[in-house]
Amino acid sequence: MDLEQGGVPTVSVHTHTFARLVGSVARANGMPTVRQCFVPQPVVGKSPAELRGYIEGDDPITRRPFMQGVLDGLTAPLSDADRTGLSFERSTPRLLPPDSEDTLHRLFLDNNYTDCLPIVLPTEARVAAMLRGTRHAPDEIVGRLRPTSYREFWEFTVEKVAVNAVMAGARPEYLPVILALAASGMTARSSSTTSFATLALVNGPIRREIGMNAGIGVFGPYNHANATIGRAYGLLSQNLQGGSVPGDTYMGSLGNSYNYTAAFAENEEESPWEPYHVQRGFKPEDSTVSVFFGGWYTLAGFGPRDHWEQNFRRALAACEPFIAPMLVLDPLVARGFVARGIETKQQLIDWCARNGRLPAGEYRDNQWVQTLLKPKAVAGIAPYAANFAAADDADVPLFQPEDISIVVAGGATQPAWRMIAGAARGVNTHSIDAWR
């Protein structure tokens, strides 16, 4: 669309699955008639001959010959609508018209305001009570969110966050955590086809103040604060960013159960290592929440035992190379590593970065390595350039140390660990105290 504004006529080609989404993006950018043509999904994995067939075939959306649409898109005269674009205001009211509880529950469900589980209706009284969980003014702007980088940002206030916190069943004392998540700028409802989720890790004194679970069943449905904070993060993300609707503002192929709720606390008391937020430059007495964009894959195992290195090498090789893992270790695992001479989280992170490897041919065959990392290789950026220059059977490193995170959580009932997709690059740890 920037090219069009620069005076260059364009046609954009998409796969047909994205027709509704690209239509809504064009509309939200004030250019609803921008020329878009479609080929069948998928393009990935198709041979040159099959792609030529797409080009010589019909556009699956318009049912006209694909190339006719492309050539018309560049040469057919503009209409009045093309010359003006579309301007409009979209407003959302503070309050909805009065109605019965049953009707309002139905309305919230039908309008995609929920996660399809029952919600608590955000009445004025409940929202006012929730707002007592922070000293910040209800009309203070908290931040902006969007489901992906090519969509427009929506803005929101403290009150709007409180509304979604009520819906999730959260208590007022959880609100500073939920506000910190909302202010992070990281959505928990990415529209990506990769079905991402965003996991939220809480550190510091607030974990105990609000009764979060860092022990037995830390990822399970056994703690009110964990469950409702994670749920509130999801609900506020979808409602404050302009939606998370399949086919329009959500395109995850498989979906992700972490999207229901994925908030947990580090077991700082049982960990032999420094807490995550201290690694990120905060003081132990600070309360923080850290966001990890991922949740796409989860591997699990036990240990460390005598063959832990082989075990970890296999697990790291199974992680998707375009997104590094967050290692969640039960305290028994962390202490086991200390017993084997790994004194700090950083030592284990460095070991993982050195030993997480794949044959270059296998690495390069990954769809998202091709899409996301190959351009960096072409630009000469390390280590991607070397990874793309290596022989097919040469092992290449998958992850940089700064991309790998380690968190100690769990109830010490078993030496269990997980590797969960969880990108942590950049500023991913945010103050909760700032939102008290």
Binding site: V39, P48, I55, R83, T84, V163, L235
Partner: protein, 96 residues
């Protein structure tokens, strides 16, 4: 009749949308320079190669050039400037 309740709207505040006009279209493609923008998605290079082959076969006096942004998912103003300075039109794909 069941009791009426008032609840908050849970949605955020969307930005105002300002209409933008499309660029003037070309009267025809004869002798023009058309950039084919490979958006770097997996296999989009192969698609653009096939598109270029089709255009060379059917519109032999159209000059085509394949161009790529610096990274996928990231706007590349330098690439856009090149297209605007040297091109008459562009086809972008295959992506979202």
């Amino acid at each position: 009749m069941s009791q009426q309740v008032i609840v908050h709207d849970p949605r955020g505040y969307p930005p105002r949308v300002t209409g933008k006009q499309l660029a003037q279209r070309l009267p025809n493609l004869s002798g023009k320079r058309l950039y084919l923008v490979d958006c770097l998605f997996d296999n989009s290079a192969a698609f653009m190669a096939q598109l270029r082959a089709w255009l060379r076969q059917h519109l032999p006096d159209l000059v085509t050039e394949i161009i790529r942004p610096r990274e996928s998912w990231v706007d590349d103003p330098e690439m856009r400037a090149t297209i605007a300075a040297n091109g008459d039109a562009a086809i972008l794909g295959v992506g979202l």
